[in-house]
């Protein structure tokens, strides 16, 4: 039962709920250095945000595929079937698991009466399946993605879309993410922001400081209680 005045918690999915590190093995499996995973993911966000800044939109999986192609076609030592390789990496997004702190943390938040939704630049279908595999399907009331507003986070329209879908005001929602750019964007749009540190670096000074800073999702449940 939702608690009166408890904020709506809007969860980012990629890296915030899902552990993306198995994608490093996917790079190894296509014959590329595993550390290319990090460059690939930064490049996918760079290109998706560039399209967003220019007022455009493209599907995450299409940008993700182009990202693998670009990396492999400019890697002089790599040879192989580039379409097959791009497909193998992107397919890995469908087989991720949640971080170890997620099941207990999410259940604790749900028990404390928070309403929970996901909002991803990826696919709401993959979010739903990820959380289903973790036995958390009944904890979230909906899974939203950037295809609704046709804008990636951190564009204001993406956060606006979430609160409209759920029927709350902007200041009744808190975005939870490991990525500072998402926390920053949510706060500029008028939501609260909870930065999930896990084992991450310091929060960048060029972005708005988070409303809440927590080490993991159990700590978030305690902080917001």
């Amino acid at each position: 039962m939702p608690r009166q005045n408890a904020p709506l918690l809007v969860f980012d999915v990629n890296e915030t709920l899902s552990d993306m590190s198995p994608l490093q093995s996917r790079f190894a499996e296509i014959g590329a250095p595993p550390h290319l995973f990090h460059l690939w993911f930064a490049g996918v966000l760079r290109d998706g945000f560039a399209l967003t800044a220019a007022g455009a939109f493209s599907d995450f999986s299409a940008v993700a595929r182009e990202g693998v192609r670009a990396l492999l076609s400019s890697a002089p030592e790599w040879s192989g079937d580039i379409e097959q390789a791009a497909g193998h990496v992107v397919d890995g997004l469908s087989h991720l698991e949640v971080h170890p702190d997620v099941p207990d943390g999410i259940r604790a938040l749900r028990e404390r009466g928070f309403r929970l939704v996901t909002m991803t630049n990826g696919s709401s279908d993959l979010s739903k399946r990820l959380l289903g595999r973790a036995g958390l399907a009944d904890c979230f009331e909906s899974h939203l993605d950037a295809s609704g507003p046709q804008r990636w986070k951190p564009a204001q329209a993406a956060y606006q879309y979430v609160v409209e879908q759920v029927g709350v005001r902007l200041d009744e929602a808190v975005l939870v993410a490991v990525h500072p750019w998402d926390v920053d964007g949510a706060q500029r749009a008028g939501l609260g922001g909870a930065w999930l540190r896990r084992d991450a670096a310091d929060y960048p000074q060029v972005m708005l400081p988070p409303t809440y800073t927590v080490g993991n999702l159990r700590e978030l449940a305690e902080t917001l209680a």
Copy 2:
């Protein structure tokens, strides 16, 4: 003497005119793997574009510094003075040289009567010094940067700012860049776009195809003649 009806050519600077590969040595000099350069630069653009997509602005050098800090503070094997290391990498931006095709290509374009300006998400002062070191100071009529519109490319406002400063219409200008996101953004804003391939990958299908595709700047002079 500018030719009647010749388009204004708007040059991106980082990687388009400047060869940024010496920054790999800067990473080696601070005790980090040289390949971190690529991850750093992708992350700087990711974070700068995120701020842009969220309607905000930060100075390039500040985002660049935060990018080094974030990488080093999450690299378990790295130890050292993080501020000094960030400063050493960012200082490298002041000591770059132009790509080998730039001097002849720029002179050929100037001789053919094109008006040339630079527009960078970095610093116009660094653009000016880079081109001065290459003996090309007199080829460009001005050096512009994102601090003017308080928006990074590829936001429409950044391209609009350039044509207003120079006094041409959007469709009288062509953006020249190695980065597809810049070509795409310029074209969405109403300029032409020239994609400089050099030895780059294929152009991504999620972005608007370039008006012109050339291998280097000499080829651009021939293509536009």
